[in-house]
């Protein structure tokens, strides 16, 4: 046995089982939340807004809404999947199993990312009930969706290994990722900002992620799409490097 495919599949199914068991929390809650955003920002306020880059405001915020849910959910799923066994002690089984670290990451992050992608598509479906959406580059849209889901799930996985308590698990998504998402142009184009703030916004990596995703929808973006893609990949490989280091040293997993 040089590759434990059954082990990966077992973990993947185990994680997905939690997803379906908590379907209400996992899927319905974010959908309702997003719908509320949509009602407030899309219909109530959006009707008074002018088009952004020729896109009606209600449609314009759809990619931002998806991204926002994607970030939070990926981090949550990625971190919870590994933190919970650590917290309850059931991680002993994973550590004693004939499975490599890489395989474990593949299983946990794969499951977390799968959930996020499903969630993203469900939100997209929900949004299309409110406003007609035409996706200019569907394949690239899906590519961004998957890549960002995987990257943030990986980031969540790191967070889950690092975290000592549930507070830490919440702090990063609440205090870092959510503000960055709000300031990252989920609801506006950074072109709308005054020149000074626009420069500041360009230091926010989330701007690039949202902009790239939005480009896949409408063909218009705040920053060049290649820059968006590069930023996503840099973040992805950074997370991958940290995970590799964690496993090499056994950081917070093994004594």
């Amino acid at each position: 046995m040089s590759f434990n495919a059954r082990g990966i599949w077992a973990i993947y199914c185990f994680e997905m089982a939690r997803f379906t068991r908590t379907i209400w929390q996992s899927l319905v809650t974010p959908v309702i939340t997003t719908s509320l955003y949509f009602v407030v920002f899309g219909s109530a306020i959006g009707s008074r807004m002018s088009d952004v880059n020729g896109v009606p405001y209600a449609a314009f915020i759809v990619p931002g809404l998806i991204m926002m849910a994607l970030f939070t959910e990926s981090i949550f799923n990625g971190s919870f999947g590994i933190y919970f066994p650590k917290f309850t002690g059931t991680i002993y089984e994973l550590l004693s199993a004939p499975i490599s670290y890489g395989e474990a990451v593949l299983a946990y992050v794969g499951a977390a990312a799968t959930k996020s992608v499903v969630l993203g598509l469900v939100i997209l479906g929900t949004a299309s009930l409110f406003v007609p959406i035409h996706i200019l580059h569907p394949v690239l849209m899906l590519g961004f969706l998957i890549l960002i889901s995987v990257t943030f799930s990986l980031f969540g996985f790191i967070l889950g290994i690092w975290a000592d308590g549930f507070e830490q698990l919440n702090v990063v998504p609440m205090l870092v990722v959510t503000p960055m998402t709000f300031l990252g142009g989920a609801f506006y184009s950074i072109d709308m900002l005054p020149a000074g703030w626009r420069t500041v916004a360009l230091f926010n990596p989330v701007v690039y992620l949202i902009s790239g995703f939005r480009w896949a929808f409408f063909g218009a973006s705040d920053v060049a799409v290649i820059l968006s893609l590069s930023t996503t990949l840099v973040f992805f490989f950074a997370c991958l490097t940290v995970v590799a280091w964690i496993f090499k040293t056994g950081y917070r997993l093994k004594n």
Partner: protein, 314 residues
């Protein structure tokens, strides 16, 4: 019999600086029940955790069936089942789901018949659709054992299997261990209940402060280190041991009503006939007599607490 686990000069120093294991060497024979005895914090769990892959060794080597635990971890780990000390179970899964998961995690193809057998053997079959949170502590312990057996391991580690377990489950567990041994499974258990080791083990290792101070066949250990005592209830109490009995290791107990003679169980000559003869010559009468053998517990306590360490490691 050949060694299925071979531990050689294994050491572990935790980041805190605590030396949990001084160089420890030990061979576990295929098919035996080996009991690792020791007080809390002696290094029992550390040793098991290293063999199973939960803790990284600081030095030394461990091979399982000839394979290095670090280099060939896939091979060694698939041969081992571990029942941890703590009752750590994923709470919201059903019994059947969690046991099936364990088999998959260890890379084995699905085998519902085997899972059913394991669950039936552990009296868990009726509870297979129950969520683990709803089970009692004893039942959770059984679930942990079922998980460890799901992938048909050749070696089973039981870390304090009967800590906090009721008498019935304890008996069941002992019976289960014997059945597994009959199937050829090698079993290593840690315990600080001496009677458990006495009841089950073929060989016993005593570990204290990270050092394995004794490894011995159970019967040999008890014979080698066990003392026998002859207690004589005297007809007339005495204040001092008569000079005529000074050749024997005797002492007065119970305010001079009892004469206690301690002797080595494994010597050919117990000295009892000569002692009784001398007593009759001296006119010391007794009403009753009994002999008793020190338990493993006494041996253990004397081993762990003595500064000199009797019974060198083979």
């Amino acid at each position: 019999m050949s060694a299925i686990i071979s531990i050689s000069n294994l050491t572990k120093i935790y980041k805190s600086g605590l030396q949990a294991l001084k160089p420890v060497s030990l061979d576990i024979k295929k098919g035996e029940i080996f009991a690792l005895l020791g007080p809390n914090g002696a290094g029992k769990t550390t040793m098991i955790s290293i063999v199973c892959g939960l803790v990284t060794p600081s030095g030394g080597t461990v091979t399982v069936d000839g394979h290095d635990i670090l280099k060939d971890y896939r091979i060694t780990r698939s041969k081992i089942g571990l029942v941890p000390q703590e009752l750590t179970t994923a709470s919201f899964e059903t019994v059947l789901a969690t046991v099936t998961f364990s088999r998959g995690l260890f890379g084995k193809p699905a085998n519902p018949a085997h899972i059913e057998k394991v669950l039936r053997d552990l009296s868990l079959w009726d509870k297979r659709h129950s969520k683990i949170t709803t089970l009692s502590g004893g039942m959770k312990r059984r679930v942990l054992i079922a998980k460890a057996l799901a992938h048909e391991p050749e070696i089973l580690f039981l870390d304090e299997p009967t800590a906090g377990v009721d008498v019935e489950l304890r008996r069941d567990m002992w019976a289960m261990v014997r059945t597994l041994r009959a199937q050829g499974v090698t079993i290593i258990l840690t315990t600080h209940y001496i009677d458990e080791a006495e009841e089950m083990a073929d060989r016993i290792g005593v570990i204290t402060k990270g050092e394995l101070i004794v490894v011995e066949e159970k019967t040999a250990l008890m014979q080698k280190l066990g003392k026998k005592e002859l207690s004589l209830q005297l007809q007339e109490p005495m204040t001092v041991v008569p000079a005529g009995l000074s050749d024997w290791n005797v002492a007065l107990k119970s305010d001079g009503h009892e004469l206690l003679y301690t002797f080595d169980a494994h010597t050919e000559e117990t000295g009892i006939p000569a002692l009784l003869k001398r007593m009759s010559e001296l006119g010391i009468g007794f009403k009753d007599l009994k002999t008793s053998q020190s338990s493993l517990e006494d041996i253990f306590v004397s081993l762990v607490h003595s500064d000199s360490q009797p019974g060198a490691q083979p």
